[in-house]
């Protein structure tokens, strides 16, 4: 079991991710914007963060950068959720310090295997 934070302004995606990962036995905290995500990441310990890139207010990239900048969260694994063909997002994401990314539209199965892979990589 892992504690996972998901931030996405789209309630459908948020609920879907939360549902799938809960099914896999993880403990989910879902928030709808970047500010809330950053607050949550600072206040509680997480094993993994899923961030949508284009959120109103603070973007996923900004959150990712801030997470990396703070020493206590610097090593927190971050997976970005990006829309297909938004040019440069993937590069920007890696530049901001993300560990992996998922492209929308995605299949729930792919999501859970990516999360599992990331978590096992961190354990090792």
């Amino acid at each position: 079991m892992a504690r996972v934070l998901i931030a996405d302004d789209d309630p459908d995606i948020r609920d879907l991710v939360a549902f799938k990962l809960t099914q896999n036995g993880h403990q989910i905290t879902a928030v709808e914007d970047g500010m809330a995500a950053l607050r949550a990441a600072r206040e509680q310990p997480f094993d993994l963060v899923l961030l949508d890139i284009r959120m109103p207010g603070m973007s996923g990239l900004d959150v990712c950068r801030s997470v990396r900048a703070a020493p206590e969260t610097a090593s927190l694994p971050v997976i970005l959720i990006t829309a297909r063909s938004q040019e440069g997002d993937v590069e920007l994401g890696f530049a901001a310090g993300a560990d992996d990314y998922i492209v929308k539209p995605f299949s729930p199965r792919e999501l859970s295997s990516r999360v599992a892979a990331m978590l096992s990589r961190v354990e090792r």
Partner: protein, 365 residues
Amino acid sequence: MIHLGFVTQALLFLPGLGLVLSLLITGTRLVRTYRQGRRRRLAAPVRAVLLELLCAPEDEQSELLDRIAPADKRTWKALEPTVAAMLGKVSGRARTALVLLYERRGSPADAVARLRSRSAARRGRAAQVLGRLRHRPATESLCRLLDDRDREVRLTAARALGHIGDPVAVPHLLESLHGKRTVPPAVVTAALTSLGPDAVPRVAAGLGDPAPLVRAVAIEVLGVTGAITRTPDIVRALWEGPETEVRIRAARALGRLGMPDGLEPLLAGLRPGQPVTLRTVAAGALGNLGAVAATGPLKEVLGDADPHVAGTAARALLRLGPAGEAALREAAVGRSDPRAAAQARAALAEAAVGSTRRVPVEVVL
């Protein structure tokens, strides 16, 4: 002149109207709030099942479908927006489950019937649904809609055909480029491109079309889908085509295809005397092509009178590897042509900071 009586009546009537309008404003708001609340209440329990369906393994899907599909009309209406939105957000098995759900509800059949509706908005919505569901049997009806009276309906039909992916649609899509009721080339190109490699032979047939726009779009699509076997045809289009529009697309396609046969015609397109847009695109395409043999000619146009041609050439040289960069360095210190030197220095400076300013090959709308 105006009668006093009329004014007095107006004076009584207008505040009344004002009151009615105020009530209308609050009324619409109340009704909307109420409806939203009801919809949420109705959808909430089914929505949970929907999420379960999306995450379920294959063997459990049909049981979950049995639970959602029989929902009454009101519940379905409340849930459908979520289902439609999800369709664009998930892929793989989860998507298939949603399509099955729509099929159980009979939506594709309804939508096909609505394609003949008298209301343009309804036809458009139906086409959109069919595209989103990738409902292959609707291909033929959607092809007919490419000639619809309403422009937005035609556009939606073209996009839907792209999503569905049946290559049968190719000639219809190409035909929709000209005539009285047209679909814009960018939309047709996008649709044809998403049909994938199966469509290439049919798209290539468009190379011989008398309409220049059809040839232009066919060339563009072949370039994007990487149909390298068609390079000779595209080369011929660049050499021979009298229409600049066709030649520009041919140049761009040759850059994308990256075959050595593209070099000669692209160099010809770069020469002074050719239309400026063609020269710019040719310069950019030579960068994409990456042939070292282009170094000399590209270096020559660094001092071109047109700054767009020169600027693109400079950035194209950067993509030719060490030879190109050496050429730029040489030009940057050259005294004979200050314009070329400035262009070269600008491109080198950009490269030095690691910025990737794209080479603009998409100069045409």
